[in-house]
Amino acid sequence: MIVRALGALGITALLAAPLIASPYQCTLLLPAFAYGIALLGLNLLFSTTGLLSFGHALFVALGAYTAAWLTTRTPVRSLEVIVLAAAAVAAAVAVPVGLLCVRYVKIYFGMLTLAFGMLFYSFLYKFYALTGGDEGIRVLRPTVLGQPFPSLDKVAFLTGPFYYYALALLLLAALVMRRIVRSPFGLSLRAIRENADKAAFVGVSVRRYRFYAFVIAAVFGGVGGALLAVPTGLADPLLAYWTHSGNLVFMLLLGGFQHFLGPIVGAVVFIFLQDLVMSFTAYWRFVFGGLLALLVIFFPGGLLGLLPRGRTA
């Protein structure tokens, strides 16, 4: 009940934000929406399936580079096409990577995903002609539902049409993910998380289902990445760097991975916290490291873990 009420309140607040909050605060919400989508995918792997990926940023970066590549090297400007292409590219890469990674569990899975992330980072860094090297590729302003909004300046575009587009995509992603988690497939994944050997003996194809979850997570990562790149206007190799994957895991812990809405809460709080801490110290990573330690020790359930609730997903 509390979660539902908070959810409704949150959606209302986010819908009203461009009318009541400053444009700066609204632009801060944009990466939070993008991360929220990516984290819904990461959490399907972590919370539902029991696999912790340290390479999810790989798919976020793929989505961002897809947006950059399409807007600068092709005539494509449609955000719908960009988002679909980002999802397709992420899925295409997730198939071979996932086939290898899901053969392993626990730390081995985590390390292998980390390795693939770093491999992709090196690729982005070195293949200058294709990726722009360390400078990355710019992301040009896309059209939203076919509308270029020529009269709007950058901030007005981002806090107007793009804001609502990203919010709508986040809500859609959340609905789709909710459906997946509550489907027979979602239950099979939870059975795998709880006891993979037992799951196999009651007929669950453990590796195959882990693989499906991996690809679905990647698609959410890719879509999030495409949305992330539009407000920053840039896709650069740091998106694929392992610290970025680490940030994603941090956001998940911050929000509370055991709650369905944990990823979204984590993304929003992370972005605003980062902004706040960066405004008064250059050592924000130091502060975040300390926060992460405190979080794990005292509030392992994250922010939403503080809510009274009997059931843990």
Binding site: R179, I180, R182, S183, P184, F185, G186, L187, S188, R190, A191, R193, E194, N195, D197, K198, A199, A200, F201, V202, G203, V204, S205, V206, R208, Y209, Y212, T312
Partner: protein, 252 residues
């Protein structure tokens, strides 16, 4: 009676150790078979080979005329063979209902349905309720498995195997960890559930001779990787040599 499961001249070596040394065994529909033998006789290896968990070094394992040597648990579950282990094996964080539902979904090939609503699948929840009722777990459907008493965990473990509606079920010491007072109750539940769920054959590995002689249609005695005796309980009981080897004492 048609043959459901058969092992033909199965050998299994682990390095220089021969766990199974030419075991031939046919399990037809309609039998409750107990596999007995002293420690190290090869009982567990035989069950592992029969359930496709371990591939034999040589010989064939066929289930309903499919070669299932080393086929793995998922394929056997799909073909209609289930297995429950000696150690209680549950999904700690899933409820009783969810645990049985996992198997019921897998049985119907619905485990990968991505966008279907599980809550709205009445057929699954009806099947879950039926199985839970058979095992006396009807009142605990919403309880997480980890909160169940040990005896109920064991029943839940077996119930989830039954939810696959298997034709053959292999049980590894179904009454281990169950008190002497309760073991007959557990066995009665099992036998009744098997009849109700259409299980055609039960194969169990069991040390408890009360259970072995009380419920089996047939007993297969293993010794040093070979079949020492194979027949109805009365025939084994009459053979003092077999009884001494298998039970470790002559049965009075």
């Amino acid at each position: 009676m048609s043959t459901l499961l058969e092992a033909v001249d199965v050998r299994k070596r682990y390095g220089t150790f021969t766990a199974l040394d030419g075991v031939t065994l046919t399990i037809p529909a309609g039998q409750f078979v107990s596999i007995v033998g002293p420690n190290g006789a090869g009982k567990t290896t035989l069950v592992n080979v029969l359930t496709g968990a371990v591939a034999p070094t040589s010989g064939a394992v066929r289930f309903k005329n499919h070669d299932v040597s080393g086929a793995g648990p998922v394929r056997l579950a799909q073909l209609g063979m289930a297995r429950a282990f000696q150690l209680v094996n549950v999904f700690p964080g899933l409820t009783v209902g969810e645990t049985i539902a996992v198997a019921a979904l897998a049985r119907r090939g619905r485990g990968a349905r991505l966008f279907a609503s599980l809550a709205a699948d009445q057929e699954i929840w009806d099947a879950v309720a039926t199985v839970a009722e058979l095992f006396g777990l009807g009142a605990s459907l919403g309880r997480p498995a980890r909160t169940l008493p040990q005896g109920d965990k064991k029943l839940l473990d077996v119930a989830s195997a039954f939810a696959l509606q298997p034709e053959v079920i292999l049980l590894d010491e179904p009454t281990s960890g169950v008190s002497t007072a309760d073991k007959h109750a557990v066995m009665n539940v099992l036998v009744q559930a098997a009849a109700r769920m259409g299980v055609k054959a039960i194969v169990q590995v069991e040390h408890d001779m009360d259970i072995v002689f009380g419920y089996s249609d047939r007993i297969v005695a293993l010794h040093q990787g070979r079949v020492l005796a194979d027949g109805p309980p009365a025939a084994l009981q009459a053979d003092d040599t077999v009884m001494a080897t298998v039970v470790g004492r002559a049965r009075a």
